[in-house]
Symmetry: C2
Subunit: 262 residues, 2 copies
């Protein structure tokens, strides 16, 4: 929603187009500078950050809605996207406490007040999706109601609006649990990557250390990655070789549940 007109239409007619009581929130993981980060936005009139999200159209599949919302926010299609949980228990979701002093200050930007009876004020469950994106390819859409956005390291997430901290924690847990069943590697890394890069990626996701040498040995023995003849220049040190994923073997290993114990 980039124009005033679109926002007004959404506020006044959204309930005809979208399912009420239900939304989608996205935890978008990116990897940069040896850190696992997520994309946060700050809505107009809000002090805290929150997760990007949206609603499900009445004639639209849930998965379809999630991809559409992601595309609207990041301009990315064909990314890795996976549903992981429905949030409908917390006090804020039960509408037991009001989350903002003045209701929905966000929409004051277009001169609309949202009262308690408005469809946007109803109790809303949220379906959590997590996405893995190539950090460098994301172009965040400057939506009218979003004042700013940022990429925040997962170990340093500030207090978020609503129950979004809980959603991020659950996404991280799911990511960790699924790292051996989902092709997480080649969704967070570029096509060609160095050994230190993928090594640090696994360390940041799982939050523990792996021995460099054994890590390489394991990936090569399992045939998950292939060493290329190219190297990358990285400043004042020895140039690391580039590697690429062996998609066939990777897929097979995931199905068999190969684990990097190390």
């Amino acid at each position: 929603m980039n124009t005033r007109q679109e926002v007004l239409d959404f506020v006044h007619h959204g309930h005809e187009r979208y399912l009420p009581h239900l939304s989608i929130d996205c935890v978008i993981f990116g990897y940069h500078a040896h850190q696992l980060k997520i994309l946060l936005i700050r809505h107009h009139g809000h002090d805290n950050w929150s997760l990007p999200g949206g609603y499900i159209a009445r004639d639209e599949g849930v998965t379809q809605a999630a991809y559409r919302i992601l595309a609207e926010k990041t301009q990315l299609t064909n990314l890795f996207l996976q549903q992981f949980y429905v949030f409908g228990d917390s006090a804020t979701r039960m509408n037991k406490i009001k989350t903002q002093e003045t209701h929905n200050p966000t929409y004051s930007k277009v001169g609309v007040a949202i009262d308690d009876n408005h469809w946007l004020s109803e109790r809303t469950l949220s379906i959590g999706y997590y996405a893995l994106v190539d950090y460098l390819n994301v172009v965040v859409n400057p939506e009218l109601l979003v004042d700013e956005f940022c990429w925040q390291e997962v170990t340093e997430i500030p207090p978020l609006d609503y129950d979004h901290n809980e959603i991020v924690q659950k996404a991280l847990m799911t990511l960790r649990a699924q790292i051996y069943q989902q092709p997480i590697g080649y969704n967070l890394l570029a096509d060609k990557f160095t050994l230190p890069e993928i090594h640090a990626l696994y360390e940041s996701i799982l939050g523990r250390q792996f021995d460099r040498r054994n890590f390489r040995k394991k990936l090569l023995t399992l045939g998950l990655i292939r060493q290329l003849d190219e190297q990358r220049k990285i400043g004042p040190h020895r140039s690391p070789y580039l590697y690429e994923f062996d998609h066939d073997n990777y897929q097979k290993a995931l199905e068999e549940g190969a684990v990097l114990a190390l």
Copy 2:
């Protein structure tokens, strides 16, 4: 819902009490006679079986709703229950095809016709929960609109109503993926069990064979189970020893992600 009055109240006033567009479906796993089974019901007027389910009250948490529904169906509280996916993509869920020739023949039993504009006919997403229960403790509640129920082996699930076959498949996949992270053992078995019992349980869930001797060795080495001094009489063969779970160790192993490769 056991009386005509309750059903009529539900049909006419349910939309005031429950969230629309959203339901809960339960895949209830039980283990008996060396087979992993799920509980199916057949609604009045339906030829096919389906999963037990229900709606979320407007002032009720989602988790709370799931436990309530389970208790209503099986009289069990304190069982293992876990949300695993939201289903909202299939053609039946998009209301693109009508699933029953005559709409909702179920309610004809109480003399009510449900037309296209009724709240029960609206597009409904479903939150899937799976439960692990001790087969012997389940007392299925004879609800008015449920003609019969059965325990069906997971390898022989008949065609179900709606997208319930898909839901069962996803539940099974999740169960298999989570068997090393969730205390699946002591939710499907009685407090005391024999080695062949737990051995067969793991074989049915994962759908593959484990060497008896290595299986025992692994469980004992990890300290997950403790051998007791009692034995069980099992007809014309050697009496197997009884075992019990070492809850503390089991919990620790799950957190560390101990895997039974075998």
